[in-house]
Symmetry: C2
């Protein structure tokens, strides 16, 4: 799992917790260096996460899983990281993401011609990378498995366990995590949330999303040029 400054930590920590319930699974947090990074956070700076491998030391992986977060904008502009992710993805058996991690996969050229999902507020932008955006919680297209926004990482990783180790292993993980969700409101998706809330959220995200769109345009233009 690549980790980076400004990551949405739950995009990473959710699947990390779920996948760790499978005996023998080993997960590395991979970044340029082993220095601790700060996740996205309001007010007090966000959670400190510590990489366990570098892109240089991690030459291949069975499964690449890319988390998202506002920090993904800097990654979309970072050719060094995109090249490392493209390299890891090209030999991985499974190429996966949670939330806006799919934009990073797209910018690395790993979603061209695939159906994929993303955080609802960024989903349509996947098309810029030649992917087909699908408004579902978890989207599986051949060996690409993508999850929607943040908390979808739980459903995503249970689906991954089910695909790789069978449904009984996934059910055991779900039971150990007491994943029997009871959200107090019906507000978790623009499909069900009150339109006023969706409009307010879109307005609040506009400055960030304008930066995101510019980064996507640059990354997609580079993809179209032969390397």
């Amino acid at each position: 799992m690549p980790v980076f400054p400004g990551i949405t930590q739950l995009d990473l920590t959710g699947p990390h917790e779920v996948l760790s319930r499978v005996p023998g699974v080993e997960i590395d947090l991979v970044w340029k260096t082993l220095e601790p990074i700060r996740a996205q956070g309001t007010g007090r700076p966000g959670l400190i996460l510590t990489p366990t491998a570098t892109f240089e030391s991690c030459q291949r992986t069975d499964m690449l899983c890319v988390p998202g977060g506002s920090g993904c904008i800097d990654i979309l502009n970072d050719d060094e990281v995109l090249a490392a992710i493209a390299r890891l993805g090209s030999s991985a058996r499974y190429v996966t993401s949670v939330c806006t991690g799919s934009l990073i996969l797209g910018a690395a050229g790993l979603l061209t011609g695939y159906r994929a999902t993303c955080h609802w507020a960024s989903l349509p932008t996947l098309e810029t990378f030649g992917a087909t955006p699908v408004a579902e919680r978890v989207v599986i297209d051949r060996n690409r498995i993508t999850g929607a926004g943040v908390t979808s990482g739980l459903d995503f990783s249970l689906q991954v366990i089910s695909q790789l180790w069978g449904s009984r292993m996934a059910e055991m993980a779900q039971l150990s995590l007491e994943y029997d969700p009871a959200p107090p409101f019906d507000a978790g998706s623009p499909r069900v949330a009150r339109p006023e809330l969706v409009d307010a959220m879109r307005a609040a995200m506009r400055p960030l999303n304008e930066k995101r769109d510019a980064a996507i345009e640059r990354a997609a233009a580079k993809l179209r040029r032969p390397r």
Copy 2:
């Protein structure tokens, strides 16, 4: 939020992500020292979490939120940490926990006479600390708010936001986190999981739970003695 070796990281990172969506919220990870600790993990040692305050430097908090995990057994045996948690809890406006964090609250004397919940596999043991175990996802009794196992931390923290900042703030957080859960199986609680799975999980947890029970007995006996 106290943090400790062998913590179930999602007990902490779930509420941390959700509560961080409220502007102005500041969350410290508190431990004896500022040295990084390792969360619970199979195979490769678990996620690295880094404390941002010590029990000495953190003299009070508006809300105490104690996560759980297999490492809670060592905390139940650690009078220094239990005293620090009792101190923080005595002046906090809200005393809360996720998963087996409620056992730590109980051992610190903070749940005596309160209704509370816990991970399903540990719920009955709350009674040893004079609490009333309640098999619900989130239990609110006066200023005590407790969540059930691991993933309940999401529902728990949305309920906390709703109580403290109103339902609109909670709905906005839920929408930004795309918390519209779709578990692939109906296995997240002993209420709905196949009995064979529940039996297998109980059997797998037995060695750990015997250590837990011994630690609970010792901690409860100390509580009953005047300090």
